[in-house]
């Protein structure tokens, strides 16, 4: 089912949580709403679900205007951050809930066999008789997903689905959700503040700030071509170096990079830690190493430039670097944004 948001607005008291958001989600697409807290991403998701009514604009499911359809008739599956499983029902009863309260009457055998199928889909065979308090967080979230899928929703909506889980469990569930999505092909929209999660999982990432969409595109598009300093900073670690733009080039100390389309004057140069080279001889930006952080996949160096700006960059695991060492930094690639 295709979803279409048209100039959607939501205000809480005086706070404008969502300002004039328009968004198209194609049928079968897996889309991430990514943004910091307060960016309105959860409010948008809840409006699509019908758990919140918009103050302006329209939401279409296919060709049908769903703006005023209440949540119970909207046919969405919603997965909550803290699972919201019914604590007094077994896993099987939780999954069966939607079918039991449905206007479409189903007999016991049909419900039971559907529950068994769903338990198999979420790989929880044999846990149907447990209560939610008796299973792990990751298992609970899988039950929540099975429960949402049981009513054959037109759209699947997930609110920070893995936010409350350990990093390892989160990574597994992410891959698994991707598999389930390709198996079922159901239009899916999920909210996260974790860039890695959005980039790993989604076909398309929609980045929000202060209730507005600042950029959207495939993970490749938003990573390779961030269109604002905010997106650059939000998607990952970034170094900021003050620069001066003249005739399409940005100059910072001894180095310069292409800055086509940026107005002359003060600007900021953004680079990823992996895009910096460290050498003991010039040319480059002179810097002193302040600290070295060892990580499984390399060494992260925190350094300070001669003018006191902090810089972070990565070197190979074998490279010997020590705090207090002096050297020069050069850039492999960088993004220049006016201002600063």
């Amino acid at each position: 089912m295709k979803i279409r948001l048209e100039n959607v607005v939501k205000t809480f008291q005086t706070f404008r949580a969502v300002k004039d958001v328009s968004l198209d989600i194609e049928s079968g697409e897996l889309v991430a709403l990514l943004g910091p807290s307060g960016s309105g991403k959860t409010t948008i998701l809840r409006m699509v679900a019908g758990l919140e009514y918009s103050d302006g604009g329209h939401i279409y499911f296919g060709d049908q205007d769903a703006t005023d359809i209440p949540v119970r008739d909207r046919g969405v599956g919603f997965v909550f951050q803290h699972y919201a499983l019914f604590p007094h029902m077994t896993v099987a009863d939780n999954i069966a809930f939607g079918m039991k309260v449905s206007k479409v009457k189903r007999d016991r055998a049909a419900i039971d066999s559907r529950v068994t199928d769903l338990l198999r889909l979420v790989r929880l065979e044999g846990l149907g008789d447990r209560f939610p308090a008796q299973i792990s967080g990751g298992q609970r979230q899988r039950v929540a997903l099975a429960r949402a899928l049981a009513v054959d929703p037109k759209v699947l909506l997930l609110d920070e689905p893995f936010g409350a889980l350990d990093a390892n469990v989160r990574r597994d569930l992410r891959r698994w959700l991707r598999e389930i999505h390709s198996e079922l092909g159901i239009t899916t929209l999920f909210v996260t503040h974790d860039q890695e999660e959005a980039l790993d999982l989604a076909d398309r990432v929609v980045i929000l700030k202060d209730g507005q969409i600042v950029q959207q595109g495939t993970p490749e598009e938003v990573c390779r071509d961030p269109q604002s300093a905010f997106v650059m900073k939000f998607l990952g670690d970034a170094n900021v170096i003050a620069a001066e733009v003249r005739d399409g080039r940005a100059y910072a100390g001894e180095i310069s990079v292409h800055a086509v389309g940026v107005a002359d004057g003060r600007a900021e140069l953004y680079t990823r830690p992996a895009d910096l080279n460290w050498s003991t001889a010039g040319p480059g930006i002179a810097a002193t190493i302040a600290r070295v952080l060892d990580r499984p996949d390399g060494r992260r160096v925190l350094a300070t430039t001669g003018s006191g700006e902090p810089l972070e960059f990565d070197v190979e695991p074998e490279r010997v670097v020590k705090a207090g060492e002096q050297g020069f930094v050069t850039l492999r690639r960088a993004k220049v944004f006016a201002g600063g």
């Binding site: 599956g77 909550f80 007094h88 209560f131």
Partner: protein
């Protein structure tokens, strides 16, 4: 090696509480049982099964049941309204719930009698429909309702307040109607608190005295409650008979507590880990 406890003050606080519980709760109950036991089985049975005593049990227990069932519905509704909705005067309603606790029960009894007497505000209206309240079992029930109302409201209220709104949202998104959500999700989660309130309310009704004796009429065999019969026996210096009848009330209260505890444990099965 001595086991160390992080929390300080265990011996002192445990000693003080056990001493107090022994002195105030266990000792009088033991005295009651001993007094009743001094009668011998035949005399005991004759007193507790006398037709006047049995009639008093019937009116007390039936009225207490009626009042508790009424409060179960009304108390739940009141707690629901206070916690779920925001309306002007909500805090006043919330405060008024405690009034039956704050008011001396005799005052409540006199006020209810004045209202429901034949010439009272309610009584005169009800008489037109042929309903008599004052000096009938119905009056006893109303007095019991009044004094036991806060129990159910105050046990259910905190549970309702803590209910995760996401549970209802989840149920709605799964297509549940308001009634289905109430019956299948909210009510089962409230059940343990409701049962606790019911058992407290029922126990209070069994023992209520002050509020009832003014409105009941106190006719032996019809509107005489057990607590009053015990009082009459005491007035006659027949302590053994008073203790014997009291022991029947005590048994009824224990039985009720046991049943509700068992039901509560059943309703809370899902919280057991393992």
């Amino acid at each position: 090696m001595r086991r160390r406890n992080v929390l300080p003050g265990l011996p002192l606080s445990l000693g003080v509480t056990l001493f107090y519980v022994g002195l105030i709760v266990v000792l009088p109950l033991a005295a009651l049982v001993i007094k009743a036991a001094s009668l011998g089985p035949a005399d005991y049975w004759q007193i507790v099964s006398s037709s006047r005593a049995v009639a008093s049990y019937r009116v007390t227990v039936l009225s207490a049941l009626g009042a508790t069932i009424f409060n179960l519905f009304f108390g739940l509704a009141l707690a629901w309204v206070i916690t779920r909705y925001r309306f002007p005067g909500r805090r006043i309603v919330d405060a008024v719930v405690d009034l039956p606790f704050a008011l001396p029960t005799a005052v409540a009894g006199i006020a209810l009698t004045a209202l429901f007497a034949n010439n009272g505000w309610f009584g005169s209206v009800l008489e037109g429909f042929g309903i008599k309240v004052a000096y009938t079992p119905l009056g006893i029930m109303i007095a019991m309702c009044f004094t036991s109302l806060p129990f159910i409201v105050r046990t259910v209220q905190p549970v309702l307040e803590d209910l995760d709104p996401a549970l209802e949202e989840a149920a709605q998104s799964l297509g549940g109607s308001d009634w289905a959500i109430f019956r299948r999700v909210i009510l089962p989660l409230l059940a343990p608190a409701l049962l606790a309130g019911v058992s407290l309310s029922f126990a209070r009704c069994l023992g209520e005295f002050g509020a009832i004796i003014f409105i009941a009429g106190n006719q032996p065999m019809s509107t005489e409650i057990t607590a009053l019969l015990i009082f009459i026996r005491l007035e006659e210096y027949d302590y053994q008979a008073a203790a014997a009848i009291a022991s029947v009330l005590l048994l009824a209260a224990f039985f009720m507590l046991a049943v509700t505890n068992w039901l509560q444990a059943r309703a809370l099965r899902y919280t057991v880990k393992g």
